[in-house]
């Protein structure tokens, strides 16, 4: 308990509260216009997605290309429940159901596929994402190709904020624990990890399920933000967009994913008026960033987490003093 309310954690809490009210105030006085708000929502939802995929790819080293599939589970669960219960209870219930279904699906999927390595895993997870999408496309309850429209819009800054903070904090806690260390050791060297007594399959599965559940939560938020869910939204392209966030921010860097999502959100906002060149510019930015910063914006480092947010530095950053020779 004492540690939970350590000075650092309290400072962190304080900062979050200040940030929350600052943004709320800016929304109230319309400095953050309804339009900017839509950008904020996008960024928030994709932060959750980026961070959750980072747990799987960046922390545990398992390349997954089917993340949007789990997003769709949450999105559809929320949409379906909210058809009958178009209120906050419905949303939360949908989110819960989505989370449970995601646990189930990701568990069933993870056990066999995570035995695969590298590109084989990538293609298997891509397949999983596609299978989920195709199943949704053909189910009655999901309304097939048309998807579900007219979903009650319940997104708001407080709601978004709560879930984004929850997702990021839980992910950070995940990373900075014995479980996170086990996952990182798997990424570093699976054979050595196993030799250190780490049940690699178990941890890979845990990380995968954890990421899937968070993606599902993000999906539920997506549904209540954008009125419509349809199968195409959750295809490979979306999985790739999430992957881009992870690599852009830096594999293994949760704060990197947060910053990268903001960055991409802003780029997209500026490019909005340039229909034809929008994607070309986006592609060029992507290529150029990768060429000049292949490790992503932050590499595997976290952005001042220990200083500002009060996390103990589990992966110390003390640099080696240059040994004078």
């Amino acid at each position: 308990m004492k540690n939970l309310f350590s000075k650092k954690n309290l400072i962190w809490l304080g900062l979050l509260i200040v940030f929350f009210f600052l943004v709320q105030f800016l929304i109230d006085i319309r400095v953050i216009t309804p339009y900017y708000r839509t950008i904020v929502y996008w960024v928030g939802i994709f932060i959750i997605l980026g961070v959750s995929l980072n747990i799987i790819i960046g922390i545990t080293g398992q390349l997954s290309l089917g993340h949007a599939g789990f997003m769709s589970i949450g999105a559809y669960s929320a949409a379906i429940v909210m058809q009958n219960m178009p209120d906050m209870t419905g949303l939360l219930l949908g989110m819960l159901i989505g989370g449970l279904v995601s646990i189930l699906v990701s568990f069933v999927v993870a056990i066999p596929t995570l035995r695969l390595k590298g590109d084989y895993l990538a293609i298997a997870t891509l397949g999983v994402g596609e299978i989920i999408r195709i199943v949704i496309l053909n189910l009655e309850i999901t309304n097939g190709a048309s998807g579900i429209s007219n979903i009650k819009n319940l997104i708001s800054w407080p709601l978004l904020f709560v879930f984004v903070v929850l997702a990021v904090v839980l992910s950070a806690n995940f990373k900075n624990s014995a479980i996170g260390r086990a996952c990182i050791s798997i990424k570093e060297d699976e054979i050595a990890s196993e030799a250190m007594g780490i049940h690699t399959t178990k941890y890979k599965v845990i990380a995968f399920i954890f990421g899937a559940v968070l993606a599902s939560v993000a999906g539920s938020l997506y549904a209540t933000t954008y009125y419509v869910v349809k199968p195409e939204t959750f295809g490979i392209a979306t999985s790739i967009n999430i992957l881009i966030i992870v690599v852009f921010g830096g594999m293994g860097s949760l704060t990197g994913s947060v910053i990268a999502t903001g960055f991409i959100g802003i780029i997209n906002m500026f490019l909005q008026s340039f229909a034809e060149v929008r994607l070309i510019t986006y592609a060029l930015v992507l290529i150029v960033v990768m060429i000049f910063r292949p490790q992503g914006l932050l590499g595997s480092k976290e952005f001042g987490l220990d200083k500002i947010l009060g996390f103990k530095p589990p992966f110390s950053k003390k640099l080696r003093k240059e040994k004078s020779t």
Partner: protein
């Protein structure tokens, strides 16, 4: 039975297309371990070049093939030099993202230059049919089938039996060590990309001739399927790409013909995953455990 055979022919011909694209995919992958996500778009580029050659310059089709393959090879080499080469020493995921960026760039660049419309590839080879034992065979189906097998054999020979092939494989394993043997690593990679891209162009034209439709996004789905095919057969292994291509073509066709088309792609992926569970490095992949 008759219908089953007909479906098999259908499956082999669409599989031939996947195989053709997968060959280039696998080849590039085999040498620089890059999932060249843009390969499908290079295929699309090749189809456009071929189409323009025929449509706007009235070239005979064989010349269009040569021109498209050459131009696309050059295009592939430029992409490699500009976008991929700086990332040789970076992580593979960074390279993958770059490849995705290149894919976006080619698609949308083409969209901007040629517009969103769907072009129809000029039907310069009359689409002749003949009936054998009651089965309808299409001239182009045969051509695609034969070409993919011929190219597979040639490529396999080049890679496994020639000096260039040895150099390619050495570069794949260890660039520095290969350089110490006197291999010009950059050139080998360039040649690899040139060959891979030329193959993609050939596939592009053939698909143009057979399926007619040419548009900026035509590369995405076949590219993805070809990638799946390459993995299916064991990525980096040339005969694997072909077997994977045919396997996927057949599965798709049988499912569409006898089951539900709705689940066609899902069935392909389920079979893929099942096969990977038994053979984690693809049908022809060697299950070597890393020697520690």
């Amino acid at each position: 039975m008759q219908q089953f055979l007909q479906q098999t022919i259908n499956g082999l011909s669409i599989g031939g297309v996947y195989a053709l694209i997968a060959l280039g995919y696998t080849m590039v992958y085999g040498i620089i371990k890059l999932i060249n996500f843009a390969h499908g778009d290079i295929f699309m580029f090749g189809a456009y070049v071929g189409m323009i050659a025929v449509m706007n310059f009235n070239m005979p089709i064989y010349l269009a093939f040569i021109i498209a393959m050459a131009v696309t090879a050059l295009f592939g080499v430029i992409i490699e030099r500009v976008a991929y080469k700086p990332l040789r020493k970076s992580s593979r995921t960074a390279a993958l993202i770059t490849a995705i960026g290149v894919s976006f760039l080619i698609q949308n660049g083409m969209l901007m230059i040629m517009g969103a419309n769907i072009y129809a590839f000029p039907q310069v080879i009359p689409n002749r049919f003949f009936t054998v034992f009651g089965l309808r065979l299409n001239m182009l189906q045969l051509v695609i089938f034969a070409t993919s097998i011929a190219l597979m054999i040639i490529l396999q020979f080049v890679v496994s039996k020639t000096k260039l092939g040895r150099a390619m494989r050495s570069v794949a394993v260890d660039k520095d060590a290969a350089a110490l043997m006197g291999v010009n690593v950059d050139n080998v990679i360039t040649i690899t990309f040139a060959i891979g891209s030329a193959l993609a162009a050939a596939a592009g034209i053939m698909v143009g001739l057979y399926y007619i439709k040419v548009f900026p996004f035509m590369g995405f789905t076949p590219g993805l399927k070809a990638f799946v095919a390459a993995v299916f057969g064991g990525i980096g292994i040339i005969p694997g790409a072909m077997i994977g291509g045919f396997a996927i073509g057949l599965i798709e066709t049988y499912v569409a013909g006898y089951g539900s088309t709705l689940y066609k792609d899902a069935v392909v992926f389920i079979i893929l995953i099942l096969i990977l569970l038994v053979k984690p490095s693809g049908l022809l992949g060697k299950n070597v455990k890393e020697k520690v």
